[in-house]
Amino acid sequence: MIEVQNLTKRYGDLTAVSDISFQAESGQILGFLGPNGSGKTTTMRIITGFMPATAGTVKVAGFDIFDESFEARKRIGYLPESPPLYNDMTVTAYLRFVARIKGMARADIPDALDHVLARCGLTDVAYRVTGYLSKGYRQRVGLAQAIIHNPSVLVLDEPTVGLDPQQIIGIRSLIKELAGEHTVILSTHILPEVAQVCEKVVIINAGKVVAEDMLTNLAQDQTLEDVFLKAIAQEEPGAAETVEEAAE
């Protein structure tokens, strides 16, 4: 379960995220949408404890990411916007390293490794050096890294970017399977993906939540594209100004 409450993040004068709140229930898949630069990555970085919020709180699996950061981080799998790979490691060595720093018991690592290599279509490149992998394969390794320790909360920043169609289908069904036991929040620009995978949708624009509802309610009598475009069209002038001011 992820609870975001009144979250604000300022980079100097620029307010990237301003006073947003939303929730993902346990076992839910939440689609996090918004135009470029609307603050999705920033929000996810705060949820995962990488950077502190200027104001507001985040609770992950019941633990405050600021005050009980360590406990919260134990329960998170995170795929950042660009996959966090060590370019001189092989895929296997890298995934083993991640499994260890995520606190997995030594005995559990071989099975988890095999499982995740198969699930993410990495068996063929298991002993290749990550630095020379193609973009799509790097993304797969990034995803494998996020799920290897079977975390109860998954934060995925544009997980299917750069993947081939077959792999996209594979990863989507993987994410769907993870739901139930895992809470997933994923950002994406591919709206059909949201329609297929997510139960709940949060749309942000210029750092503010402009829509938050179950997918079935939102896309009842209109397509998700329409919902998205309408939501970001009603943007408040105030928020846009802060962005422009900072840019000057």
């Binding site: 970085r45 995962t48 404890g49 990488f50 950077m51 502190p52 919020a53 200027t54 600021f66 950061s69 360590f70 981080r73 134990k74 998170i76 995170y78 950042p80 660009s82 996959p83 966090p84 790979l85 060590y86 370019n87 001189d88 490691m89 060595a93 390293f97 991640v98 260890r100 720093i101 995520k102 606190g103 890294q145």
Partner: protein, 256 residues
């Protein structure tokens, strides 16, 4: 502790998988060999002159004073330049490559990351200094240097290098740019090296202070074979202070 070990392994692997380790080790041995060769031939020339002048004068020439001590001083200067290049990537590369995000969102304590990176660089330094052991080994095989003085000198060299490692890691933790990390590390270690130079003319208060702050002062004592607790305390404080500041610097990303 398990996490520290995991980080150490990852860091050591990074050194030896990339060419950095081999370039640095070869360079260090090459320069060391050149110094050693020069000091030794100078020693031989001096020896032949002395023996021509008077019988038994060669006893006044000893290997520790004429070969080992200057060799160690020369190596310490090389370390000023090389250590920041060894440590520059430690944090800067992680920040640039996005892997910092992985480390900081994993259930690792900041202290474990800092300690792991420090121990890995420390082990690397040990290997580096260990390899230079061939030069004194030659002297022991063919001459009779004082082993105690030699060991004290090596301890000094190791402490000096370890302090530089700690300082270099600190400067690396400030930036995502490896060049900036290396240059600021070099400036810091060089400053520690030369800060005692104006001590003689700096007055009664400032003079001793500058002398105390200088690595060279403490290092020189040990090269002469004197291991004083005051010098050990100096190196330990320098290392611990740098580690503490590195821990703060990494942790500061989590501060509001």
């Amino acid at each position: 502790m398990r996490n520290v070990f995991t980080i150490v392994r990852k860091e050591l692997r990074a050194y030896f998988v990339s060419p950095i380790a081999y370039v640095v080790l070869t360079g260090f041995l090459l320069l060391g060999g050149w110094f050693f060769f020069n000091l030794l031939s100078r020693f031989n020339v001096l020896l032949s002159i002395y023996t021509q002048l008077q019988q038994g004068a060669e006893d006044q020439l000893n290997l520790n004073e004429f070969v080992i001590a200057p060799l160690m001083h020369n190596l310490s200067i090389v370390l000023v330049i090389l250590v920041p290049m060894i440590t520059m990537r430690a944090y800067a590369e992680e920040k640039k490559g996005g892997t910092y995000e992985l480390l900081l969102t994993s259930p690792l304590r900041t202290g474990e990351i800092v300690l792991g990176k420090f121990l890995a660089s420390f082990l690397f330094i040990c290997i580096m200094l260990g390899l230079t052991g061939v030069y004194p080994a030659v002297l022991i095989a063919f001459g009779n240097p004082e082993i105690g003085v030699l060991l004290a000198g090596y301890l000094g060299l190791l402490l000096l290098a370890t302090s530089f490692v700690a300082v270099g890691l600190l400067t690396s933790s400030f930036t995502e740019n490896q060049i900036i990390a290396a240059v600021s590390g070099l400036v810091a270690t060089l400053l520690l090296y030369i800060i005692g130079w104006p001590a003689d003319t700096a007055g009664e208060v400032l003079g001793p202070l500058l002398r105390y702050l200088s690595v060279t002062e403490h290092f020189a004592e040990m090269v002469n074979g004197l291991i004083d607790t005051q010098d050990l305390v100096y190196f330990a404080s320098l290392i611990l202070l740098s580690l503490f500041l590195t821990q703060r610097s990494v942790e500061s990303l989590r501060w509001r």
